[in-house]
């Protein structure tokens, strides 16, 4: 599904540069649910951004679903993002003047899908996250958990191969966090590959594999016994 070899990334800071990723090797198979952990500054978000094609590596190899991701034009990157990837963010990143339905339909718009078809698909995914009745509400009329569920529906809408979540529960209280995790686990059960950045131990333990980063290198890469979230809900 995803293979990364000797990935390096550094950011210029003034005259010097900060070496954030110092040779990452990672391979994720289809159907996996991986938590990337690490303290702040460990490079976990940078890694996720590179996997998400929001950022480009300086060095190394990145192959996504058999396609080498290298020297992409902006347009190509946009098309790949749209086709392969679904994003879930800590701060939800919904467009605040669009209602839930329109937010979910947006990636489909960029796929060039017809309006009626878009609406239908968006409703389907909203129903899946249990928010069909909230389809015409604006984000600021929704609770944090609901917003994140809209964001998940949006990430799923384009039927991506890989779901990337950057601290998906970071802005939520514990109860809501578990609800969201329960839902993400369900998606994984259905076969979606999920990659998630988190610094919360309990959230990480709800994944099937934990990759720990420190100072730009992988310290530990272990498969764990998945803790099911529904028992806390």
């Amino acid at each position: 599904m995803l293979t990364i070899n000797k990935l390096h990334k550094s950011y210029p800071i003034g005259d010097s540069s900060l070496h954030v990723l110092k040779g990452i090797d990672l391979s994720v198979k289809e159907g996996e649910m991986v938590a990337i952990m690490g303290s702040s500054g460990s490079g976990k978000s940078t890694l996720l951004n590179i996997i998400g094609m929001l950022d480009e590596a300086d060095e190394g190899e990145y192959i996504l679903d058999g396609v080498p991701i290298k020297n992409l034009t902006e347009k190509k990157a946009a098309i790949y993002r749209n086709k392969f990837l679904g994003f879930i963010f800590q701060s939800f990143n919904l467009i605040n003047y669009k209602n839930a339905l329109e937010n979910v339909a947006l990636p489909l718009y960029y796929q060039g899908m017809k309006r009626s078809e878009r609406q239908e698909k968006a409703i389907f995914h909203l129903e899946k996250v249990g928010l069909k009745d909230w389809a015409h509400h604006l984000p600021n009329e929704l609770s944090g958990g609901q917003k994140q569920r809209v964001a998940i529906a949006r990430a799923l809408a384009a039927n991506p191969k890989l779901l990337l979540a950057d601290e998906p529960t970071g802005a939520l209280d514990t109860k809501t966090s578990y609800e969201i995790m329960e839902f993400i686990q369900q998606l994984n059960d259905e076969g979606k590959t999920i990659l998630m950045v988190t610094h919360e131990e309990d959230i990480a333990n709800m994944c099937k594999r934990i990759v720990r980063l420190r100072d730009g290198v992988i310290m530990e890469d272990t498969f764990v016994e998945q803790v099911r979230a529904e028992q806390y809900v």
């Binding site: 951004n49 998400g52 929001l54 950022d55 902006e74 347009k75 946009a78 098309i79 993002r81 749209n82 086709k83 994003f87 963010f89 800590q90 701060s91 990143n93 919904l94 467009i95 003047y97 669009k98 329109e102 947006l106 990636p107 718009y109 960029y110 796929q111 309006r115 949006r154 384009a158």
Partner: protein, 409 residues
């Protein structure tokens, strides 16, 4: 390619951010409003000038004679120069390609009577071409024609007010009017756009006047219009040529200013033309400047909008928006705001001109208005302006890196 979804996106964005859109539109609306008003006022001023010369043909040249003030070729100063039919014929033949209409004039004062009504009037004895020179409008009947000239018929064409004075409520056409004891048939009644005095004039064939008043071939004045294809400088040159030739003909010193005099409308028109075109250029510069200010204003606000929407653009990019789609959104939004605001300004400006127009006539501004052709020009300009205003911000927006936009602050 018409992409309804793109337009839907844009209108949603404009609609959801009404204050912002209104604010950015305001500068352009105001710029166009000012431009329209300035343009209308200039037009009004131009109309005033045009109308001031509307009464007579504005390509006329009047040739008068007077006394010589300088001795020349053995002839003494103080000699009276008298034009005759042959002088009229000479100009007509010599400059046939440069003359459009030509007429001679004889002035007389008469006492006119019809039944019990009596009044004094100016008589102008003329050639048929005089009608076009003076822009006389025939109300009833006809003007003096060549047949009248050839046969020295005793016919007159009278002004509307002469008919009103003498014939009271009845029609004068076909009746006989008595001028200083001689009966003339009224063959026409005319109106004139000039003042009332112009309508208290009686026209008669020049040959009739020459036979009755002194039985000679004298004429008082020659009026002509030059070929309208000539420009002002050519026409002014033509006027000088006539003066020289006439001075030669009457052995007048070339430095004599009084014996042969010429009044050439081309000279006045040239001045007016220069003034109006200078005014036009000034207005254009001011208008263009205001428009540029508007464009800069909108561009600034669009840059601000892009900054404000950085996060949204980042989200869109993360979801698969291509740089091209981002550019289209910002550019078209800018064009729409500019075009709509511009039109509002234009309509407001036209409305104000329409409303204030009648009050401005005292200030020599007549019928200020904006031509329809200007609206088409304005549309193109506005779309261009919107595109220019939106280009930089759109380019900036398309360069936004989603990773930067999505960073949680």
């Amino acid at each position: 390619m018409f992409d309804i979804d793109l337009w839907r996106e844009i209108f949603q964005s404009i609609n959801k951010n009404r204050t912002r859109s209104l604010l950015s539109g305001f500068t352009v609306a105001f710029a166009i409003l000012l431009f329209a008003i300035l343009f209308g006022l200039a037009k009004g001023l131009e109309n005033t000038f045009a109308e001031a010369f509307n009464d007579d043909a504005n390509n006329s040249i009047f040739i008068y004679s007077g006394m010589t003030t300088k001795a020349n070729k053995g002839l003494q100063a103080g000699r009276r120069i008298q034009f005759k039919n042959e002088d009229f014929d000479y100009i007509k033949e010599e400059f046939s390609d440069k003359v459009q209409y030509i007429t001679a004039r004889i002035y007389r004062n008469v006492t006119a009577t019809f039944r019990n009504e009596k009044n004094t009037y100016n008589v102008r004895a003329v050639h048929p071409d005089h009608q076009y020179l003076e822009m006389t409008l025939i109300k009833d009947g006809r003007y003096i024609n060549q047949n009248d000239i050839d046969n020295s018929t005793k016919v007159v064409v009278i002004g509307r007010l002469v008919e009103e004075d003498l014939f009271l409520k009845t029609t004068a056409l076909g009746k006989y009017i008595n001028l200083n004891g001689i009966q003339y048939k009224v063959v026409g009644v005319f109106t004139d756009e000039g003042n009332d005095n112009e309508e208290r004039i009686i026209y008669m064939p020049i040959t009739t006047a020459q036979r009755i008043y002194g039985n000679n071939d004298y004429i008082d004045q020659i009026n002509l219009t030059y070929n309208p294809e000539m420009d002002y400088d050519q026409a002014i040159g033509f006027g000088r040529t006539i003066t020289e030739k006439m001075k030669d003909r009457f052995d007048v010193a070339s430095s004599d200013q009084r014996a042969i005099r010429i009044q050439n409308m081309a000279e006045a028109n040239k001045g007016v033309g220069q003034m109006t075109s200078a005014l036009g250029i000034i207005i254009l510069i001011i208008g263009f400047g205001t428009l540029i200010a508007g464009v800069v204003g909108i561009s600034n606000i669009m840059i601000f909008i892009v900054k404000e929407r950085t996060k949204e653009i980042g989200i869109r990019k993360a979801l698969g928006a291509t740089p091209k789609s981002i550019v289209s959104i910002i550019l078209i939004e800018s064009i729409i705001i500019t075009a709509i605001a511009g039109y509002v300004g234009l309509l407001l400006g036209m409305g104000i001109l329409e409303w204030a127009g009648p009050m401005l006539e005292t200030y020599f501004i007549k019928d200020p208005s904006v031509k329809p052709s200007l609206i088409i020009g304005a549309t193109i300009t506005l779309i261009l302006a919107g595109a220019i205003a939106g280009y930089l911000p759109a380019k900036k927006a398309s360069k936004i890196k989603p990773i930067v936009a999505l960073r949680d602050d």
